[in-house]
Symmetry: C2
Subunit: 306 residues, 2 copies
Amino acid sequence: MSILVVGSVAFDTVTTPFGEGKEVLGGSATHFSVSASFWTKVKLVAVVGDDFTPAHRRPLLEHDVDLGGLVVAPGRTFRWVGKYGYDLNVANTLDTQLGVFAHFSPVVPEPWRETPVVFLANIDPDLQADVLDQVRGPKLVAADTMNYWIDSKPESLKRLLARVDVVLMNDAEVRQLTKEPNLVRAASAIRSWGPSMVVVKRGEHGVLVFAGEGAFALPGFPLEEVLDPTGAGDAFAGGFMGYLARAGAVSSDSMRRAMVYGAAMGSYAVAGFGVRGFEGISHADVTARVREFTDLTHVPAAEPIE
Amino acid sequence: MSILVVGSVAFDTVTTPFGEGKEVLGGSATHFSVSASFWTKVKLVAVVGDDFTPAHRRPLLEHDVDLGGLVVAPGRTFRWVGKYGYDLNVANTLDTQLGVFAHFSPVVPEPWRETPVVFLANIDPDLQADVLDQVRGPKLVAADTMNYWIDSKPESLKRLLARVDVVLMNDAEVRQLTKEPNLVRAASAIRSWGPSMVVVKRGEHGVLVFAGEGAFALPGFPLEEVLDPTGAGDAFAGGFMGYLARAGAVSSDSMRRAMVYGAAMGSYAVAGFGVRGFEGISHADVTARVREFTDLTHVPAAEPIE
């Protein structure tokens, strides 16, 4: 099944203790698209300014992302400037210039309105809802969000959540939205508002999923080289949703495997600024990393000690 | 194989957002002993004051911990007063009264000197080394430590590490000791000083082990009720070392299973103040929780997507 993604395409300037990326291609929809493109056809709806050159399109086109919904508007592309310290889970925003993104009103091209899987990357929840108004009978809808929208538009966000199957948030956001420090109870609260699956992203500490009757946890992949965590969550989402779209069905088994694929994609994302961590990565590389990851977390069966 | 443990036995007064425990039985050796006692015979070397009553001994005796090395000295038992906020990974020490612990010089009773497994719970690294001088030909030696000793006795600690097989530390301590933010590289540095296995405890985020050629990661168990994280790391160590002692050999498989048993024991420790989380817990309960935990992290095999 193909995936429709709506979100931001941006130029990011990022400083980490390990280097700097200047005006590199970023944005939630970019990271998601490149990652998901490893598994299925991705159709991107976003806006960029007239400073967005063919060179900026190249990484997306090389991953066969369909840019038929990428609108070029007069003005500047969205820019984000951020900095990380040694705690790579905390991004400090130094500057945000919305540019053409300030007036973004996503339009899903008519031929894309029956795309079976929809990913609403982190943008204004009212815009996310607009996109849902345009699509017809999607099989699986997932949404990401961030602390900014939880603060400024909590009611819009809750209305949106009632319409999605899967929500992805980090642990601080889950606590912030529900005002409940305990993640098990916080996830239950969110599920009572609509989503059947809550994916709690924990940065370098992995991911926790609440779905069906149970929970599933995956630790972070211990990496020797981490350059830039920006986009890791969107790359995770791309691997996760891309795998589910390819598998064609959501079951406990496919969901668990999708998490490992998501984690593997996240591990590439952090290895370079922008989407450079994915440069030269093949399916065989990902398959090998998925195997490494599965081995990392494998517990051999044993006779219980009585 | 039985286990010899040397460490602290204390009275803890702990405040968390979820309640308070006043002068409850605590200390690194206490938490370790109760936890390890589920799997093997535990022999405890520690010191308490003359305020340590038969009622204080009861939880240890109920778990069949051998108190033949528990010295009663004139004076007061070690007391710790601490407080946790919503970030349960961070303990704030409000008061420490060493009492009889100030002059503790551990003596291993002669019949215990050939105990095959030795656990050096968190105390002064010079005292930990004294214990190693007294034992003969142990098969497996593990040590815990804390930021206080890394700050005040780094050279003693490094000398000790050269003599142990397994070291358990939390992630901040691993980074502090090695001055290396990346855990993979930090663990390599520590292993180059002696221990063949480095166990990185990450609180609610689980645990990471570096041993042999590889790494193994386990996420935290998502718990609905957490009352008091004090002793969770020692309870983890008790389950981990207890399982290895019972298994009789350290292999990649037994180490992986030991981690799950450790994590299960840690999950009981946090459910009550002091060692109350273990009250009424049977082997069958632990076996059921180990199964839950294994299910939580299980990734079903799949045909790789090419």
